[in-house]
């Protein structure tokens, strides 16, 4: 049996090594002292022996354990230090605040922990170790699945759970009854795999008394436990591969669109676009989408005032074949179009702003998304007006959009509710060269005011312009006028993602869960029955052995014993039962489990 089972080096497992000698040493000694002081010791062999030794070490339990611990430690810094993938701005800020330490941390990949060389090395080694350990185990298990239950051991006294008794039935009847019971109700899916046998008489040997010829039953259940364990480990490998393939093939684009407008699924139509190495632009299905309307709901009760409650975007999707349909996108409910998912990631207001320059020409007209900065949608935005009439200064506006504005006593304005009940646009005005012609890409939501001149009032303070919808006001310093449209359109930030591996990732994750459950909770047990006639009575003994902790082994053996015809258990004075013969009560459970 044991030579047919592959065991990773360093595994402590009495079930597969064979029979325990006693209940006491079936458990590890509590002292925690390593029971095998034999540490890794490089053999003095050639390079081939060296390779084999390295491989054996790598696929040993000890190394797997070390790698798991390392993985946990290596994952840690990524939760403490800002990460480029999650928050690139925070990384820049950190580098600014800690120039020296930051540079060193960056050099060692501490701002990209989960793609760093060392993190990848640990999990790849773990995967190699896992494959190296799992493949031979799978082969051995496939063989074991076809093997017979293990031979009936000579002595039952050594087993943690062990019952003896007598019966009026013959040993043959006992063997039949035992095997019927152990096989269970379903023929196709037997509880136990059972083999009955016969033993010749045994002469007395030393302290061992002799025994007449006997019938035996050997039974084993729980092959699925090992299957589950292997499934679990293999599914982990599948999971990692599926995730990696997804990384290579995915793409993701972000677009901000306002009510009544739309976008097409093409790389150029996204504000930002990012994709894996195996991404092919042809995989973008050229559908298009229009935002018909956007609605939001906020709490109005005093406790949670202004907290968001619901967001709904009504959209129309037009497929490449020209057919179109109405859809909605909500938080938690992305819209699926042609294998991609479209998420509602953000929303806000995009007031319609028109700037007329000093010469009366329309220098700018359009919807400007103002990004909300707090719960009441105090939203910040900028308007860059480079296209003024020749000879004039370019104009930059920075300001806030307040959906429901109140003006405080000191003249400042603030928003008190996220819905546009009393909207107000507050602007500061700059003039000069916006620097847009320099060819350096600029953030559309930021105005670099370093080279610009602010408009000041007579006291030297900044001029602030206040506009309600429909207003048109003069810009200071004779720059022209600015007008706010009557309606305030909403905008939504959409995130479109395509990842063809999702179904595989989920499948492997669920298989891993299934395998794990089987591997931890399916009992793996062996039960043996022996029966012989001596002095006109039929004697019966039943023993059980379980893999790992198994509180139900005792019950299993009791049931197997109870299923025999007309049996009577030996009293405590007789041969009795090994292990805690805890009277079969709940206390017995306790004692039994403490012994296993």
């Amino acid at each position: 049996m044991s030579e047919r089972t592959y065991r990773p080096e360093g595994i402590a497992d009495d079930f597969t090594t064979g029979e325990p000698t006693s209940a006491a040493d079936a458990r590890p000694e509590p002292s925690g002292a390593p029971s095998s002081p034999r540490g890794p010791q490089a053999p003095q062999l050639g390079w081939r022996g060296m390779l084999r030794w390295t491989w054996r070490q790598l696929t040993s339990m000890r190394v797997a354990l070390m790698l798991l611990m390392l993985l946990a430690v290596a994952a840690l810094p990524g939760s403490i230090l800002p990460q480029r993938d999650q928050d690139p701005a925070a990384v820049v800020e950190y580098l600014g605040d800690h120039p020296t330490a930051g540079e060193w941390l960056d050099r060692f990949g501490f701002f990209d922990v989960y793609t760093s060389v060392w993190f990848s090395a640990i999990y790849l080694l773990l995967l190699v170790s896992l494959v190296g350990c799992i493949v031979p185990r799978t082969i051995a298990h496939a063989r074991a699945l076809r093997a017979r239950p293990p031979r009936t051991p000579a002595r039952f006294e050594r087993f943690p759970v062990h019952v003896t008794g007598t019966t009026s039935a013959t040993p043959d009847e006992v063997a039949d009854a035992a095997s019927t019971h152990l096989r269970g109700r379903w023929r196709r899916l037997p509880t136990f795999r059972v083999e009955t046998g016969a033993e010749d008489a045994r002469p007395a040997r030393g302290a061992l008394p002799g025994r007449p010829a006997a019938r035996t039953v050997a039974a084993e259940r729980g092959y699925l436990r090992e299957s589950g364990n292997l499934l679990f480990h293999l599914a982990l490998v599948g999971l990692v591969i599926a995730v990696a393939v997804g990384q290579l093939m995915h793409y993701r684009g972000q677009a901000i669109i306002t009510e009544g407008r739309g976008f097409a699924n093409a790389v150029v139509d996204y504000d930002t676009f990012e994709s894996g190495a195996w991404f092919a632009p042809e995989s973008l299905v050229p559908f298009s989408m229009t935002l018909d309307s956007f609605e939001s709901e906020f709490a109005t009760d005093t406790v949670a005032f202004a907290q968001s409650r619901d967001f709904t975007a009504d959209v129309t999707v037009t497929e490449p074949d020209g057919s179109s349909r109405a859809e909605t996108i909500r938080v938690n409910h992305p819209l699926e179009v042609d294998g991609s998912k479209i998420y509602l990631q953000g929303n806000g207001y995009a007031p319609e702003i028109t700037v007329t320059d000093a010469e009366g020409a329309t220098a700018f007209s359009g919807r400007v998304p103002f990004l909300p900065e707090d719960q009441v949608y105090t939203s910040r935005g900028v308007v860059k007006v480079p296209d003024v009439s020749p000879g004039l200064d370019q104009i930059g506006l920075i300001g806030y959009f307040l959906p429901t504005a109140v003006i405080n006593e000191d003249g400042t304005a603030e928003s008190v509710f996220p819905l546009p009940e009393d909207p107000l646009l507050v602007l500061e005005v700059y003039r000069g060269d916006l620097g847009l012609d320099a060819g350096v890409p600029q953030n559309v939501y930021r105005l670099d005011t370093a080279n610009l001149t602010p408009s000041l009032d007579d006291d030297g303070g900044r001029v602030t312009l206040l506009l309600e919808p429909g207003d048109s006001v003069e810009l200071p310093d004779g720059l022209g006028t600015v007008a706010l449209g009557e309606d305030v359109p909403r905008f939504v930030a959409l995130d479109l993602r395509h990842d063809p591996s999702l179904a595989w990732v989920l499948t492997f994750a669920l298989l891993a869960l299934l395998g794990l459950t089987g591997s931890l909770f399916l009992p793996r047990r062996r039960v043996w029955v022996r029966s012989w006639t001596s002095g006109g009575v039929t004697r019966v003994e039943v023993a059980g052995l379980a893999r790992g902790d198994d509180a139900g082994l005792e019950t299993e053996v009791d049931k197997a014993f109870g299923a025999l015809p007309d049996v009577e258990r030996d009293g405590p004075d007789g041969a009795g039962r090994a292990g805690g013969s805890g009277a079969g009560t709940t206390d017995g459970r306790a004692t039994g489990s403490e012994e296993d």
């Binding site: 509590p30 798991l68 939760s79 406790v303 907290q307 967001f311 938690n332 990732v505 509180a551 459970r589």
Partner: protein, 326 residues
Amino acid sequence: MEIAELSDLLVWAAATTFAVAMIAFAIDLGRRTDERLEARTEARATVGAGASGAVAAPDGAGPAADVGPGGPARRRAAGIGLSTSWLGTAMLGVAILLRGLAAGRTPWANMYEFTLVGSFVAMVVFLVWNLRRDVRFLGAFVTGLVTLFVVVGLNSFHVAATGVQPALQNYWLVIHVGVAITATGIFTVAFVLSVLQLLRDARETGSPFLTRPGFRWLDRMPAPAALESMSFRLNAVGFVMWTFTIIGGAIWAEDAWGRYWGWDPKEVWSFIIWVVYAAYLHARTTRGWSGRRAAWFVVVGYACVLFNFTGVNLIFNGKHSYSGIS
């Protein structure tokens, strides 16, 4: 807001009741230590007289074998501990229900509620287990921890009962968070078992600190191997639930945030916890690592669970900032 106030009152009452239970259980532990000592002296006397009468059960037999000198000792203090535990748990359960009614949603959407439900689960695990076998020796520690949790929850995490933001309005709130809390409650009891295992083990191996008479109560605990096996059984259940929590969280994140995994601090720590408990399961079966060393993994794992719940919510600024505390 009357229902919410009633809920808060009940939580205070439950915390008080748990404190009473803890004291009762502690008295029971102390008493039994004394009884045992008497039993031992008496046994020695009888053995000296050449008879082999009723002797206290050997150490390893656990608290079930509660045979004092005059037959099974009555454990009135433990009985009080148990009944107050049931009472406190019932009150906490009602408080959680009322909280859900007041907020009009599943009552586990912020740190305060998470604390309540996690404590509730830990108590239920302890009490239900105790129906099947005698684990009263855990009482003082479980009720002690739970009292601490509930009081910290009331004082530091309490927020008003109200609705939740759109990303949380999902059946996954019920499943993912519910399973995570249950796992946490189970890990809590398993942690207690592993700590007792380590203490008992250290006492047996002659740790100078733990061999002091003040730790005599440890002798009444089950043997380290028995504690380890109980702890494992709970940890195995907890680990499977944690695995499910992570998978469920990933499915939810895919819908709510547009990616199933993004190494958000909460995700990082859930992963760390998972890996630590996986390492624990491996340690148990690795030669030289089972027993005491494996128990340390449970301690580390549980520390990570606690940190994931408190530190990650309060210190780091991730997508999981749902504590409701600003």
